[in-house]
């Protein structure tokens, strides 16, 4: 028998008093002032020019000819962060003196540099594509710099700096994605728009608490759509969808299900799912000649559609390992994520074994460790 709702609401309001005596640190104000100083230094445009120490790393980007490795939704098996030492020096950008590090990378590489002193986070991180003997307009490569992400101080943010090279009109032009992650990150995985993925090592930036990563690719089909930072044990620290962040200039989100990939058939029920970078289409085949269709605008982590009283289909990001129907207990099962061909997206079928779904049901999307990445609701199929 449920507790009386009115009584529960009354008790809840009274329970707020349990937090009346929250204790804060006696030096909270001093801590705040220190944070402000640090924060200002992180964002000061003058710091870069005044920086006495600049560390440059030559980070192994993914090799163009080797091609990306297609991986499942689990964490990449990248090596642990490694520390490098300065070697040589170049002018990277704006008169900033940088020290260069050389790593074996094949003919393509991303230089990543951080400006600032070792006692504070870098004012900016720069990246620059460099060619190593491969034909191309490498001489035109210029550094691209990024200030700290707006939320870089949040513990929910691991990719503190992210740079993307300017796009060129030629179809086979290269692009770079590079940046720096905080000390928790052990590897970075990039997902390309065509569904392939590559695991990138991360390399410590000198004495800072940051580690750099970089990636080079050719053409829009292989443009990086998603960057995922992983921590120890494959824990997802942060994911950034570049299509969502940079929009059509970087990677067209699609035209509301007009440029779909090949569909994947779920098999168990007559449903197929296709996608493009920003949308997914779910078709429920009612008979041989007709289907009910919904076009889902995809959010950063996933989206769901209710097929009928007992079935739902979700389209989820590649780092999502499991879907846990909230509050449904053992009466609900979810399939493992299945890749939607030629896209980064995966699809999951959720089936309620007894009784209908609650109309307000939500789903927890988790990584391989069971960490909840997001909670999503669903939309109804018309």
């Amino acid at each position: 028998m449920s507790l009386d709702v009115e009584r529960l609401e009354r008790d809840l309001r009274a329970a707020a008093s349990a937090y009346d005596d929250v204790v804060v640190s006696s030096d909270a104000w001093q801590q705040n002032q220190r944070r402000l100083v640090t924060g200002h230094r992180r964002r000061s445009p003058w710091l870069a020019a005044a920086a006495a120490v600049v560390v440059l790393l030559l980070v192994g980007g993914a090799l163009l000819l080797r091609g990306p490795q297609h991986t499942a939704s689990g964490p990449p098996a990248g090596p642990a962060p490694r520390t490098t030492s300065p070697e040589g020096s170049i002018h990277l950008a704006g008169g900033v003196e940088a020290y260069r590090l050389k790593l074996p990378i094949g003919y393509a590489a991303v230089d990543v540099a951080a400006s600032g002193d070792s006692s504070a986070p870098p004012a900016r991180v720069c990246s620059m594509f460099t060619g190593e003997g491969k034909p191309g307009d490498f001489a035109a490569a210029k550094p691209v710099c990024a200030s700290p992400e707006a939320d870089a101080l949040d513990s929910g943010v691991s990719i503190d700096y992210l740079t993307t090279s300017p796009l060129k009109p030629t179809a086979n032009s290269w692009t770079t994605v590079a940046g720096a992650v905080d000390s928790r990150a052990t590897s970075v995985q990039v997902w390309l728009a065509d569904g392939n993925a590559a695991s990138l090592p991360v390399t410590r930036l000198g004495d800072s608490k940051l580690a750099a990563f970089g990636y080079v690719n050719l053409g829009p089909q292989q443009r990086v759509q998603r960057v995922v930072a992983y921590g120890a044990g494959g824990r997802v620290l942060q994911a950034i969808d570049l299509a969502q962040r940079l929009g059509n200039d970087w990677l067209p989100l699609g035209t509301r299900c007009n440029e779909l990939s090949r569909p994947v058939e779920l098999g168990v029920i007559p449903v197929s799912v296709a996608a493009e970078p920003g949308f997914a289409q779910v078709d429920v085949h009612t008979n041989a000649d007709s289907a009910r269709t919904v076009c889902l605008p995809l959010t950063e982590t996933g989206q769901g559609v209710k097929i009928d009283d007992r079935d739902a289909v979700l389209v989820v990001a590649p780092e999502v390992a499991n879907v846990l129907p909230e509050g449904a207990g053992s009466h609900t099962i979810a399939s493992q994520p299945a890749s939607i061909p030629d896209t980064i997206w995966h699809t999951v079928l959720v089936h309620r074994m007894t009784g209908p779904f609650d109309p307000a049901a939500t789903f927890d999307l988790t990584d391989v460790n069971g960490q909840v990445l997001d909670t999503v609701a669903w939309i109804a199929l018309n």
Binding site: L12, A15, G156, G327, T362, Q371
Partner: protein, 184 residues
């Protein structure tokens, strides 16, 4: 008394210049805001289940510092702080908190030391149950019953529709009842 961002009257009114002829500078206003609202923002973060409520509050104030417009209006500043705290807690829970399922198996581990300290004996069971709710349900319950936000305000804060707010609150209450029944 919602517009000043205070929580049940626990905050001091700050930044007011009644009776003065000069307007305090931004740093003075910021200092007054900090001393007047820091504990309340820490309290809100704790209510929402933040793993480090004081860190959340600190971050909210750092962000406020760069908002000169908000600093000119203490009422707006308080509202900005509250919204920032809600967003920061949500962001951290989304990316970093241990899975809800894991917490349900080991609720004692999930409850922070601060919660244990501040929870009064007569409310401890209910407070603990709220902290064991899923993030979305907990957020809905806290905003509705502990901050007395309207459905429209909750919808805006949570980035969802008013209808979903209503069902989340309802489902949150159901889940809370289930948890309480299970512990009795």
């Amino acid at each position: 008394m919602e517009s000043d961002g205070s929580l049940d009257g626990h905050d001091a009114q700050v930044g007011e210049s009644v009776g003065t002829t000069t307007r305090p500078d931004a740093e003075t206003v910021y200092g007054e805001l900090f001393h007047g609202h820091f504990a309340a923002m820490t309290r809100l973060a704790a209510m929402l289940g933040a793993d480090d409520p004081e860190d959340i509050a600190q971050e909210a104030f750092v962000r406020l510092h760069g908002r000169h417009g908000a600093l000119r209006d203490p009422h707006a500043a308080a509202g900005y702080l509250r919204t920032t705290v809600v967003n920061l807690v949500r962001s951290r829970q989304r990316h970093l908190t241990v899975a809800r399922r894991h917490r349900l198996e080991r609720p004692e581990d999930a409850a922070s030391a601060e919660h244990a300290v501040v929870a009064r004996e007569n409310n401890r069971e209910l407070v603990a149950a709220v902290q064991r709710l899923s993030p979305r349900h907990r957020e809905a319950i806290v905003l509705r019953y502990w901050l007395d936000l309207t459905e429209a305000e909750m919808a805006e804060a949570m980035g969802i529709s008013a209808g979903t707010v209503k069902s989340l609150v309802s489902r949150g209450l159901d889940a809370l009842s289930t948890l309480l029944e299970g512990s009795r």
